[in-house]
Amino acid sequence: MKYLLEVKNLQTHFFTEDGIVPAVDGVDFELEPGQTLGIVGESGCGKSVTSVSILRLVPNPPGRIVGGEILFEGKDLVKATESEMQSIRGNDIAMIFQEPMTSLNPVFTIGKQISEAIMLHQKLDKKAAKERCVQMLKLVGIPRAEQAVDEYPHQFSGGMRQRAMIAMALSCNPKLLIADEPTTALDVTIQAQIIELMKDLKEKLNTAIMLITHDLGVVAEMADHVIVMYAGRVVEEADVIDLFKDPKHPYTIGLMKSKPSLDGNAKRLDVIPGAVPNPLAMPKGCAFHPRCSHAMDICKEKMPELNKFGDNRKIRCWLHEKEGGEK
């Protein structure tokens, strides 16, 4: 088996009082063991919904996985029972969230929260779990780990909390770590610490990481392979070097150009005009066509397929339809 995780035509819809919101609408990707996959996109593109779908944590109602497969080590998580999911969550697949304060329970000590998961999944006794816990805190670079283990979340700073979250997530040696905007809530200097820590841990533990972020800089630093999402679909997929060297999809190009660069001296920023379409009234054809400067007639009529383009690359765009077909 080549892939750790294979997502095939995943569809997660939200049934709201105003209508059906297709938050994730046919997403495909694969993740190899030990690989870091970056998922980039703006708010509402479906990147976070994809990640909670994998863990089957979509709030229901209003949300539901309505189609597709999520193969984790060959097993379809969409069809798994709730008790099977419980033994997978936190054990085989762990997750860290954007806001470390809200994902830690304020009334329990850090040690208690981490050892809870260890005791549950690894069948260790209390003492062994606590030892493991101290070991994990040391691994993520928390000073005075022996004392910190008995402290409460409010005694930790933002950066320390995110480290504790990472320790908790990695405590059961998961095969896959889903990191949803792990550095977005942090300050730049703390973000740099966490990025270095995650890169370092990945080398030590060889965990596959699914990194969800809106920050192209973070992706460039951490990911091996990147998928770009727009309006619930994958629009481009490529190895990180290829993607940044030669972005193909007009949306990817637009995203890269619209961020002011540190060494650039352009007077005006390039913009992607308009805004993300209303998910209740998606435009016909390619969802990006109203904002695309290369839009052609066909773009307004038909949604392009996500076509293979070379070895490790896929693009969903009519501009590249022909080129891809030739290869």
Binding site: R268, P273, G274, A275, N278, P290, R291
Partner: protein, 303 residues
């Protein structure tokens, strides 16, 4: 560059709400409320009761206070749909007239309560510090007062009348509203649009009246709806104790007071069951409507 700007405009218009209708926050609340069946039933019932009270003279055509000693304590019949009371007066007529007093007491006392509560709560919340402390300690004192003894004393001194009941309900009830308004304003005060108002040079009075109070309306309305229900109950209770509105004016409460004896309870159900049911209906409808409004108003606005 100019061309680019034009393009932005064009696209943005496309992305706006497709309907050309302006949706104010209140129309959204109305739409959500209409979807809530129980709340709508409550609204319908309370509307029917209010209409019945307003058009009381036309319901049976029988005058309210005309006694008929030849036809006392008559059970329901085609002539008197809900029978007559111990003085031969038509029960249905008196029930409809009773609604006038009961509902008026509910609405007026609650309005008074809101008026006092909003003014004092608004001042406390906006100015904070010392003023806040003084007002809220007074509110604490008022909410410590045991309701019934105070109400009984008050009515005993000033005499039982509909106005005195309204006043006592308002005076003893405002701290609840004041606390809600103060708490809301404390959190609204920190919102950036209030800072923006300061930066624009908007005066204090206008900031309170035109920015803060409208944003507290949602919680006030919810609390007022359930407040009316409890005022109706209190009026009934006071009237039942003989402290409410003086006879012969009927209220739902004093109609039940008239049916207090064992014998009546056992043998003349039509003298106490209908007013009981009506009080129950009015209170439960207002509470259902209040709950519905709470859901419709919260989370306040879709973002």
């Amino acid at each position: 560059m100019i061309k680019e700007k034009g393009q932005i405009n064009e696209n943005q218009e496309e992305n706006l709400a497709t309907s050309s209708k302006v949706e104010s926050p209140w129309t959204i609340v109305g739409r959500r409320l209409r979807k809530n069946k129980l709340a709508m039933i409550g609204l319908v019932v309370i509307t029917i009761l209010s209409l019945a009270a307003i058009f009381a003279p036309f319901i049976t055509g029988i005058p309210r206070d005309i006694t008929n000693l030849a036809n006392t304590n008559a059970p329901p019949s085609s002539e008197h749909l809900l029978g007559t009371d111990s003085l031969g007066r038509d029960m249905l007529t008196r029930l409809a007239y009773g609604g006038r007093i009961s509902l008026t007491v509910g609405f007026v006392s609650t309005s008074l309560r809101i008026l006092i509560g909003v003014i004092l709560g608004g001042i406390a919340g906006y100015y904070g510090k010392g003023i806040d402390n003084v007002i809220m300690r007074i509110a604490d004192i008022f909410s410590c007062l045991p309701f019934l003894p105070i109400a009984i004393t008050f009515v005993a001194v000033l005499g039982p009348s509909i106005y005195n009941i309204m006043i006592v309900l308002a005076i003893l009830g405002w701290p609840g509203i004041a606390r809600i308004v103060r708490a809301e304003i404390l959190s609204l005060r920190e919102r950036e649009f209030m800072e923006a108002a300061t930066a624009l040079g908007i005066g204090d009075f206008k900031k309170i009246v035109s920015h803060l109070i409208p944003n507290t309306m949602a919680s006030i309305i919810v609390s007022a709806t359930t407040g009316i229900a409890s005022a109706i109950l209190t009026e009934s209770a006071l009237s039942f104790l003989g402290l409410g509105v003086a006879p012969p004016t009927p209220t739902w409460g004093n109609m039940m007071y008239d049916a207090q004896s064992q014998y009546v309870l056992k043998n003349r159900w039509w003298q106490w069951v209908p007013p009981g049911i009506i009080i129950f209906l009015a209170v439960i409808s207002l509470n259902l409507l209040g709950d519905g409004l709470r859901d419709a108003l919260d989370p306040r606005l879709k973002q």
